[in-house]
Amino acid sequence: MACGDPSDEERSRARLHLDAGLTALRRQEVDEAIEELTAAIAIDPDLLEARYRLGLAHLTNKSDVPAAREALEAAIQVDPDHVPSLVKLGEIEFNLGEYESAREHLLHATSLDPGSFVGLMFLGKVFDRLQDWERAADAFLRAAEILPDRASARFWLGLIRTRQERWIEAAEALEAAIERERSHSSAYHQLSRVQRELGRAEAAERSTRIHALLQELTGDIRVRFERPELLQRRDAALELLELVPDAANVRLTLGDTYLQLAESAPTSGVKAQAIRKAEGAYLEAVTLNPDEVIARARLRLLYEQTGRPEEAEAMTAVLERLREESMARREEEDVR
């Protein structure tokens, strides 16, 4: 540990460790990142970003909550107005059930940065736990304004309005969430209850059915389904698409199901047909959501396995472009 203020040279050395830590984090070398960030802090204890990144490394990559908390609290000691640290600490406290201290940190963060979507979302959830529904709703409304295309703030607003038994507002918010995410299972579940309260029996039944079908399509990714189960899943997906035709991820699931069905197909003809249907489902998924990388990755694999190298190569290029765009977005969010 350095004594007194670090010299310029020490600051430079600390900066080098920080950069090395950030590089290691990008490479997912978490142990190395923690080592570098810790070294940076040892030289320059006021190096705020190192403390914050160390907290994230512990939390995101190692799930070491006490260590993450310690790092973030130290970051706030360096700069009590460091919004990212305040938000992340508030999130940790929320998840530990320490709602009062989470509220204080998140209120402080969102007063410093009223545009912090994550801060407002957790603040809303904290107020929910504290049964302060109005302030919870206010936080989710503000979050919805910041990222109007996201479903999550609308869903939570709907949940709060449900708690308040303000059924019409609840229905509006939940429908708005579904508009933004067509297969939002939780929103359909809540909406069915709200619609029943509003006497909209038919709509409630439809929401219940959609929710049940979405539930049928969930499952552990490690599970290899047997053919009868696959046929059930296929039928559920097809029924769901009748009800919600523009649900991209249901089409992705349908494609996966067809691919698994192809593996157990009794004849080569049936197998070829299943592969064609899988391809069709994946293509529809990417048409509905051009950023749908999983469907694109499945298509690439399918092209490779069916001897279509040019199409596979073209898909690789698209995937690479999407990956770069995603990384750029993430870095932008990190900076923010």
């Binding site: 909550v65 049964q131 219940t208 539930q215």
Partner: protein, 568 residues
């Protein structure tokens, strides 16, 4: 005669009321006791030398990580609670089984927290691969019989009343074949005065034919326990007690077979719609929960979806393990706690009346603190005798190698202890619980009851491949209490399913006599209330499963009362 005008019953009750010894609990003690841990583990020196054995060989067979349960019941009717521990052992059909010789064990309570192993003389040392147990007087002869669920055929032990049991499985017809049973409850499904039996079945699992599951860690495949999604569900079974010592399978006729996709691990029979009969609530693993509403004639309606009990607030089917019922918000109806897998909350289903449930987990503040733990045992009990129900949860992961997959996770986990603030909001008091609560264990079933007869509720925790924990309540400054042993006459002998309401100091509390709660376990049948500082209970109402309602007025607190159903 008015249904609540039972003065004759009152007089009879007073004559029959038995007081039990009241040890120092702080009641009336003017010297404030020194601060101490809420619970202390008194297993050492208790005489209980039971150690659970899974028989695991490294092949990761799912049954070996799911057991086992524990029962607290007074098998010899001497007034105190005896302990029955269910054992694992050698997994049936497994090549290379370690060959350990193990059986379930019964320990008789000798008083002063001393227990003696009476398994052999009692004849209850079942050597099946044990899961759970439940207790009830199924033949109405005045003593408690014992049903043991296994991975393999189940066992019914009939109490002869002389401290010994006989195997009544075959005659009764409740062996349930070579299936994998989990939790079970005795309750009177059809109101005929005889205890019927609901047995949860988990999944169809064949040791010799089971699938293996592996996960990749740093390029290497590591075997792990399979997710239950890998296996087909096994349907639960409802047996009707014919009253002649035999049972019949009425699962389909009774309407508890409408859903085939259960994977039940926990069940509670509770009158959640308040119409006088016990409904069935089943915690399913990764599948929607079941709520079967009793229609009063021994048939049930599947109201799982419409009641709000099937899914949590987010519309997710969670990995349900243990379950319990109790009125946590003091509104006179029974709410439910279900405990779940890691990264799922433990979920509180608040009864809004007529068995319409609302997920109240978040505002009750029990959700986030449970995210890192895998809950098995769960129970509501007034652990500080202040007049509201607190919550104890026993945790432990199913994967012994979970730390290889998730660095933040561990196989052994601490318990959670929550104190109710009187309005249905809970404070996490695990730290105040002391080392007995905070020590990480691989816990499974839990049973609640006053083991040392001092008026507060203790907890026995069954641990996987380890000794159990005997969590003795020693909270300082605890409130007063009142407890009831129910004696049915028209109803089943122990009043299982009876609803008891007490009024004192302007407050009303309600509880129910239940068999089979938590996970694979059975808690004391004695109905216990904490009453805070009240020195008398003004009124006690008992609504028996027969429909008979009795009223008793002005009862002393800090003692147990024996209430006998009036015969009109």
């Amino acid at each position: 005669m008015s249904r609540f005008g039972g003065s004759g019953f009152n007089a009879r009750c007073v004559a029959l009321c038995l007081s039990i010894s009241i040890l120092a609990t702080g009641c009336g003690d003017e010297t404030p006791p020194a601060p101490q841990d809420w619970f202390v583990d008194r297993l050492a020196g208790s005489g209980i030398d039971f150690r659970h054995v899974t028989g695991a060989t490294g092949q990761k067979h799912l049954p070996e990580t799911m057991g086992s349960g524990v029962a607290l019941f007074d098998y010899d009717r001497d007034g105190d609670l005896d302990c029955y521990f269910v054992q694992g052992g050698n997994l049936p059909g497994l090549q290379g089984s370690p060959g350990v010789q193990t059986t379930n064990r019964l320990y008789r309570n000798e008083g002063g927290l001393r227990f003696v192993d009476v398994t052999e003389e009692a004849g209850v040392g079942d050597d099946g691969y044990g899961m759970g147990c439940v207790v009830g007087d199924i033949d109405g002869d005045g003593d408690l019989d014992l049903y043991v669920t296994n991975f393999g055929p189940n066992r019914l032990y009939l109490n002869r009343g002389d401290g010994t049991f006989e195997d009544g499985t075959e005659k009764a017809g409740v062996g349930a074949g070579a299936s994998w049973s989990s939790s079970a409850v005795f309750f009177d499904a059809d109101g005929d005065g005889h205890l019927d039996l609901y047995v949860c079945q988990y999944v169809v699992y064949r040791v010799g034919l089971s699938r293996t599951c592996e996960d990749r860690i740093e390029g290497k495949l590591v075997r792990s326990y399979c997710h239950p999604d890998v296996f087909p569900a096994a349907p639960d079974v409802l047996f009707r007690n014919r009253g002649d010592g035999t049972f019949e399978d009425i699962t389909k006729e009774a309407g508890v077979y409408e859903r085939e996709n259960g994977k039940g691990l926990g069940v509670v029979a509770s009158d959640v719609d308040g119409d006088g009969d016990c409904d069935l609530l089943v915690a399913n693993d990764s599948k929607p929960n079941f709520f079967y509403r009793n229609l009063g004639d021994g048939t049930f309606r599947d109201d799982s979806d419409t009641s709000g009990f099937a899914y949590n607030e987010l519309g997710e089917a969670e990995a349900g393990m243990g379950i319990d019922a109790g009125d946590v918000d003091g509104d006179g109806d029974f709410d439910l706690i279900l405990v779940h897998y890691t990264m799922e909350t433990n979920t509180l289903y608040l009864n809004e009346g007529d068995a319409i449930f609302r997920d109240g987990t978040g505002p009750a503040r029990i959700g986030e603190p449970s995210l890192m733990y895998l809950g098995f045992g769960a129970g509501f009990a007034d652990l500080d005798n202040d007049g509201d129900l607190d919550l104890h949860i026993a945790n432990g992961h199913i994967m012994d190698n979970v730390g290889m997959f998730y660095s933040s996770q561990s196989f052994a986990q601490p318990d959670l202890l929550f104190e109710n603030d009187g309005e249905g909001r809970f404070q996490n008091r695990s730290t105040e619980g002391g080392p007995a609560i905070q020590t990480p264990r691989v816990s499974r079933g839990t049973a609640f009851g006053d083991l040392d007869g001092d008026g507060d509720i203790d907890i026995v925790v069954q641990n996987s491949n380890a000794a159990p924990a005997l969590l003795i309540n020693q909270k300082a400054g605890i409130g007063r209490w009142i407890a009831f042993d129910l004696v049915g006459t028209k109803s089943n002998r122990d009043g299982i399913g009876a609803r008891v309401t007490i009024e004192h100091g302007g407050r009303t509390q309600v509880e129910e006599c239940r068999s089979g709660t938590s996970y694979l376990s059975h808690s004391a049948l004695r109905v216990h209330f904490g009453v805070g500082s009240s020195t008398r209970v003004d009124r006690v109402r008992v609504r028996w499963p027969s429909g008979q309602e009795d009223l008793i007025e002005s009862l002393e607190v800090d003692r147990m009362h024996r209430l006998i159903e009036t015969e009109e």
